[in-house]
Symmetry: D2
Subunit: 162 residues, 4 copies
């Protein structure tokens, strides 16, 4: 249950979105993981592998992400990821990481916006990655389930247990 055994991986997604006053649009900024961890008195190893809205992740980029996770020496990996294709990344990662516990999380509201669920979700994922047996999980809305059992319902804007 040592934080040093965990690798944090940022890929972009809603959690990292910020507002650009010039364009009036949201864009994906630097990972919010370090700031959220620091508030809780934690320093963690954070790697930024992608910086994408998850709908824009190509298959080769998803392969690159899976290869990166597979090659990590750590057996506990927490990934921040856009919610729309979180399940697709999880499915690709799973066969590559026997013996590892991988938890994907993200946010419905960007960390930069009032009322964000980002810090809470990372907390949920961080506990789960330290406790759960090997496997690839999704942590959202206070629940942590094997990825194939927790699917985003885009009409409702939330994950539903299958």
């Amino acid at each position: 249950m040592n934080i040093d055994r965990i690798h944090f991986v940022a890929t972009g997604g809603t959690i990292d979105k910020r507002y650009d006053p010039l364009s009036g649009q949201l864009y994906i900024g630097a990972p919010v993981l370090p700031e959220i961890l620091a508030r809780a008195g934690i320093e963690g190893k954070v790697s930024e592998v992608l910086k994408k809205d998850s709908l824009d992740i190509s298959e080769s980029e998803r392969e690159q992400l899976a290869a990166f996770i597979a090659a990590l020496p750590e057996h506990q990996v927490l990934i921040t990821h856009g919610t729309d294709t979180m399940g697709a990344s999880a499915a690709l990662i799973e066969p590559r990481v026997p013996g590892k516990t991988v938890v994907l999380t993200g946010a419905m509201v960007p960390w930069s916006i009032a009322g964000s669920d980002a810090a809470f979700n990372i907390g949920v994922a961080l506990a789960a990655v330290q406790i759960l047996p090997p496997g690839v999980y999704i942590a959202m809305h206070g629940r942590v389930l094997p990825h194939a059992a927790y699917v985003k319902d885009r009409a409702q804007g939330r994950f539903i247990a299958g």
Copy 2:
């Protein structure tokens, strides 16, 4: 791993502190648990048992808290509590709750103040209470340990694994 199986219990502490403009002092306000859960899309059963700085909890109040937890029908209980005597409450609760998983958490910085660790800590505790076997645990700084193994060092202002 159903949220309905969890009972949330607020006892006051730093996490619930707010600012009173008249006196210029911090006081313990209504529990922040409902707002933090709502941001993550969760509705939970929240009971307010005490509303105290944990240094001001009397032994009879601590007994009352332990009795309340023991009497709950739920087997998963998340308690928000001041950090200074979180360990004392955990020690008193433990022999009363065989078969239950109880996780205590709180905050080093009030939820109402910029840079608070409150939402993150409740996320950590919420995952832990759903996954860990029966026992009484403390969740702070991203770690969840059996209460006797995780003790607050007041000089450093953080919990240290014993």
Copy 3:
């Protein structure tokens, strides 16, 4: 210098933008004026006349806004407005409101997003509308100038004194 003599008018714009988790887009929500005023211990009369990105305000809507301002019994009017066509609305309003002090303001970053200038800008505009002689002014970046002398440079994303 009585707050009761001021009429507050919301028309939408960046200041009122909020995040929609379903679409991942920003939309114009309820006016933020009442919340910002309440924080400062002020209750004000707020009318919502439009709810538009200012690039989407039609000429007939701009006429409707000018007519609304002209018809108000108050001689001090503070308008929140999108920055892109704030000057166009000011120019249309000016000939209709002899004897009135009208100050338009808005925000470069929505009130709902970290680092917003909204509360500050409304403070600047509120002081100005109480002190300045009749005329139509723009208040942004801590300055208050007659509208024709303070023009948005969209490349720089700020107002420049002409």
Copy 4:
């Protein structure tokens, strides 16, 4: 109406209070003026003259503050100050600054705490200091009045026009 002509002076007070997790107490931190101005796209000259709860300002310190304001080359001075003795400082400053416009402001809730009035109040004061004729004024709750006409009612926790 050029920002360069204004000197900003911080003296501490509620506006600058922050939370110390070790002691659980609020303390007076670095001035918040630069951050609040930066959000609005403004750079200003900020001097920190005192760093005190205004109830703890001694008469010699108040003299020192008045002498500092009197010696400034700028004719527009915005002072952030604790609310409890804002009036006493204003009264001492007034005879020393003929020809200058001095506006004192502060906050009922620290900038570091949710719901603060700090940014709004500084906005009000900044407009006022640029527009009003020479004199010493207090800006709070959206109003700006000559200091002797605007007195803090400590029971109500707000300034009342005399």
